[in-house]
Amino acid sequence: MANSKFTGTSTYVATDDLMMAVNAAVTLERPILVKGEPGTGKTQLAIEVANSLGKPLYEWHIKSTTKAQQGLYEYDAVARLRDSQLGDDRVHDISNYIVRGKVWEAFESGEQPVLLIDEVDKADIEFPNDLLRELDRMEFYVYETKRLIKAVHRPVIVITSNNEKELPDAFLRRCFFHYIKFPDKETMQRIVDVHFPKLKKDLLGEALNAFYKVRDVPGLKKKPSTSELLDWIKLLLAEDIPPEALRAKDSRTAIPPLYGALLKNEQDVHLFEQLVFLDRRAGSNP
C-alpha cells in the first residue's frame, strides 16, 4: 500500500514538495489540505493521485449550503412517510431510508480509496469542526440504526480550499498542508509539454512570454492561471496562430490574439486594453 509512491502522472506535473506532502499523507493515512491560486490544479490533484496509485476516487463537492452530516448520511423521512402510506413493507426497517453520503461510501470501499473534499471553505464556518472526529478516527455513528461506521481502509483524503474563510486550528492540526504556488517558467514549460507534447517550441516560448507579461500587468483582478494558459494554447493551436503574432513588438498586434481566454473579467479586459493603448501612444510619440 505505502510502497507505491505518488510521483505525478503523464498529465500532471508535481513538484518535489507536493510529492512529499502527498506521500506523507498517504503513508500516515492523514488528510492533506491543498491551497493555492484558483486554477493551479488543486482539484485535479486528487484525481491524479487516485489515477496514479490505482485507487478508486470519491468526490464530495462542497457548496455554501452543504452540511457535514450530508457527507456521512441522510435520513429520508419523506420517502419513509410515503411508503407507509402505500403500505410498503420496506417501511419497517429504518435502514432502508438511510441514504449514504460520500464519506460513508469511501469508508466502506473494498480497497483504500481517495476521497476528495472540494472547496471546504465554501461551507459554513462550523463545517470543518463538525468533521473532526470523522477525519481523525475515520468513524462515525448512525443514530437511527445505532451503528458505528468505521473505515475499512483509511482513505487518502484530499481537501482543497480557496481561502474564502479561515479554517479552525483544530482542523488544520489534523492535516498535512501544501500551498501550490504559481509555477515558475520551467515548471510551466513542463506542464505545457505534458498537455501538448507536439507543440512547436517557438510557439510555446512566445506564448509563455506573452502569458507571463499579461500576469505582470499591475492591478488585474484575476490573474490568468495555469488552466487559463492551457485553454489559451488550445485555442492558439486550433486557430493556427503563428508564433510571430505573439511577439507583440509591433504596436498593432500588441494585444495577444484570443486574449479572452486569459482574462475572465470585464474590468481586467478593459484595464488591459487601456494599458496597451497608452503603451501604443507612448510608442508612437518620438
Binding site: 505505502a2 479561515e166 486550528d169 504556488k181
Partner: protein, 391 residues
Amino acid sequence: MLIPFFYLLRDGGMKTSITELLTLLEAMQKGVAGQSVDDFYYLSRSCLVKDESKLDRFDRIFASYFNGVEDSFADLMADIPDEWLRRQAELMLSDEERAQIEALGGFEELMQALQQRLEEQSERHEGGNKWIGTAGTSPFGAYGYNPEGVRIGQQSSRNRSAAKVWDRREYRNLDDSVELGTRNIKIALRRLRKFAREGAADQLDLEDTIDKTARNAGLLDIRMVPERHNAVKVLLCLDIGGSMDDHVRVCEELFSASRSEFKHLEYFYFHNFIYESMWKDNRRRHAERVPTVDITHKYGSDYKLVFVGDATMSPYEIVYAGGSVEHWNEEPGAVWIKRLLNTFPKAIWLNPEPQNRWDYTPSVKLTRELMDDRMYPLTLAGLDDGIKGLH
C-alpha cells in the same frame, strides 16, 4: 534534535502544536523523508505550517536552525553540484564577467560572498534595503542568482544545493504578517444570532407534517416552512479618521466579520461624535449625508445599535453646540446620542482604546456616562460582554 527546533518555531511566533511535531516524527520513523535535507524540509513544512502566510517565517527559522546542522547531512552535501554550477555559469557569462569573477578570487570565493550577501539581505529585509534591485549591476545579478525570483538551479531541484531551497524565500510576499482575526470575531458575533423563519416556505416541516397526517386519518399532508435565518438587525456606526487611524485594521476586521454574519446590517460613519448627520460612503462624506433624524425614523427599535469609536476628543465636542471640529452643530452631540438611544434602547459602544486608558480621557468618561456604562473594549472578551449587553 527536533525539540529545540520545535521551540524555536514557537518562539518565532508559529502556532505549532505537539500533535504536529508528533506527526512529523511519526512520518520520519516511517521513512517518508528518506535521507536528504530537501525531503526533510518539505516534510516538516507540510507537517508544521498550515497557513501560507507563515511559510516565509518557517523558511527563515528553518534556515537559522539548520545552518549549523547541515554537516550532519554529509551525504547530501557531497552532492552539491559544484561542477554543474561552474559549467552553467560559464555558459551564461561573458568574457568580461568571467574576468570579474577572477578578480573576486575565483568561483568558490564568489559563491561564499554570494551566500553572505544573501544572508545579509534576509536580515535587512524589513527596513527596505538597498540589495533589492541590484540584480542588474552586481556580479551576482549576472547569474540571475537573486532572491527576487531568478535562480541558479536547473529544472530538477535535486541538483540544487539543499540549503538554498529555503534560503530563496519564495513565500516572502505571502507573509503579510497581518493576522486576520475575522474568524474569532465571527464566532463572537454568533452569540447575537436569533433565528426566525422568514420568506418562502421551502423546507419540510417534519413534525407538523406528521401531526397533520395523523389528524388527516393517515393521509399524507405535507407541510412546508421557510428556512431559518439570522433575524438580528444591526445598526453599526463607525468613527472614522483622526485618532481612529490607529485602529483601522481592527475596525475593518469587525466590519467584514459582521457584514457576512448579519443579514440586516446597516452601517454609517461619523467623525469623533454623533451629530445631526452621518454618511455611508467615506469618499463622498461631504456630498452625501444622511440626517440622523432619518435614521431614527427609518429603522425600527428592534435594531441593535453598535457604536465603534475611541471617544477620544475634547469634551466640548460632546456637550456644547458648535463643539464639532468639522462644522457648526446647532445642537450638542450629547443631545443627538440621547435621541438615538431613545429610539434604539439596545445599544453598546465598542472602544478600540485599551480599557486601562479610558479613565485618563474625560471625553471617554463622558461618553460612558451617556451610554449608561455600556462601553466595552474592542477585544474578543469585550465583544463577548458587549453582546451580552445587547440581549
